[in-house]
Amino acid sequence: MVKSFPMTAKLILRNREYEVKSGQTLRSALKEAGILPESVIATRQGEMITEDEMVREGDVIKLIAVISGGIEEGR
């Protein structure tokens, strides 16, 4: 019996890992993981990639959060 392994890749955001299907665009993979493309920059092997890039099997895509800032509450 041949055991099948799912074709997956990994997204990493702030030390949290999300396993996603490979063979889809980064945009779809982010959606699968519930991450808004607008809130992150994606890098693969140290290079920034755009949302139309295909996620390949075994990819490790590091996501850099872009949101920062605090506000004086109630102002």
Partner: protein, 329 residues
């Protein structure tokens, strides 16, 4: 996706501009656009001296980098807030700001809040009831006061902060939800100089936060990635997340919200009735303007904390300058 300018592989796609650029062209595009905004909003001229408020974050360091590359006379100001919270937040931010300045041979002024007031921000905040347990209100007050003091004392023509479009839109959203007309009146790329108040400008106000992150990464600027520990769960971050969900559905929504607001303001939609305009008084201690006679909020905070170091005190917020209240970066 390919770079619109050269056809090489794109590093970033900006749907709101229907534009994708490679690394090199993006790094050219950001300073070009910044220069365009500086001129469009009459922020400052070549011969003027600029003080850039730097926090060690991506936006303020990128702003300083851009102004330096554009050939402006821009020095930095770092305000050491004394926030540690187990991650040496302020110490690391200061190290990065100093490293940035040293690598480029730029001048960085450092103000230590503890040296100026006797206490670091978290202690100052604990000693007052301002901010309801969060130090952000005290932090904003101290930063605004110190930024203005240094800009004036050292003879700078203008104070520049790294607020990006997401910062501006989050504040705009909050002020619109509450119809805070007095704040809406004063929000914009330029806060003009007034007696005792330095001119304040936001040259990055039309760049998305995502673009500024990309700029810092592609330029190789080392910045503090961790959020200020006190900003976690803040209203501004909640607004930013909400607005990003909208942006995801409607690319360009954030930019359109901001630009439409500026246009409406230009058309005097939020015109201030003459009688509402408060006369400003000068604080007898520091000389900075204040809306009520007597000490300004900053000087009252410092004098009360120093005179009753073991008590919790209340500093009513009498001042209302209507400017944004986000952190430096």
């Amino acid at each position: 996706m390919k770079c619109r300018k050269c056809g090489a592989k794109a590093a970033i796609h900006m749907p709101q501009h229907r534009l994708a650029l490679c690394k090199d062209h993006f790094l050219e595009w950001v300073p070009e656009q910044t220069e365009r905004f500086i001129r469009k909003y009459n922020m400052f001229r070549r011969e003027e001296r600029i003080l850039v408020a730097v926090s060690g974050g991506k936006d303020s360091l990128s702003l300083w980098d851009i102004l330096w590359r554009l050939g402006y006379q821009a020095d930095g100001l770092y305000i050491a807030l004394g926030i540690d919270e187990g991650i040496r937040y302020s110490a690391e931010s200061q190290r990065l700001a100093e490293q940035f300045a040293a690598e480029r041979g730029l001048k960085l002024h450092i103000v230590d809040v503890e040296r100026e007031t006797g206490f670091p921000i978290p202690v100052l905040a604990r000693k007052t009831l301002r901010g309801q347990g969060k130090p952000c209100a005290v932090c904003g007050l101290v930063k605004r006061h110190e930024m203005n003091r240094i800009a004036r004392d050292l003879g700078y023509d203008v104070l520049a902060t790294g607020h990006n479009l997401d910062d501006e839109v989050a504040v705009l959203f909050g002020n619109t939800l509450n119809w805070s007309v007095e704040y809406l009146l004063r929000q914009g790329p330029v806060l003009p100089e007034e007696p005792g108040l330095a001119r304040k400008v936001k040259p990055l106000c039309r760049f998305y936060e995502r673009e500024m992150t990309a700029y810092a990464l592609l330029r190789g600027i080392e910045y503090i990635y961790e959020e200020c520990p006190f900003a976690v769960g803040s209203t501004s971050i909640a607004y930013k997340e909400l607005l990003n969900r909208l942006e995801n559905e409607r690319p360009g929504a954030k930019l359109s919200f901001y630009l439409s607001f500026l246009e409406a303001r230009q058309r005097s939609l939020f015109r201030e009735p003459q009688e509402v305009r408060q006369a400003l008084h000068l604080c007898p201690s520091c000389g900075q303007p204040t809306s009520a006679p007597g000490l300004c909020s900053f000087c009252r905070l410092v004098s009360r904390v120093k005179s009753s170091p073991s008590q919790t005190i209340t500093i009513p917020d009498l001042e209302n300058k209507g400017e944004e209240n986000l952190s430096l970066s």
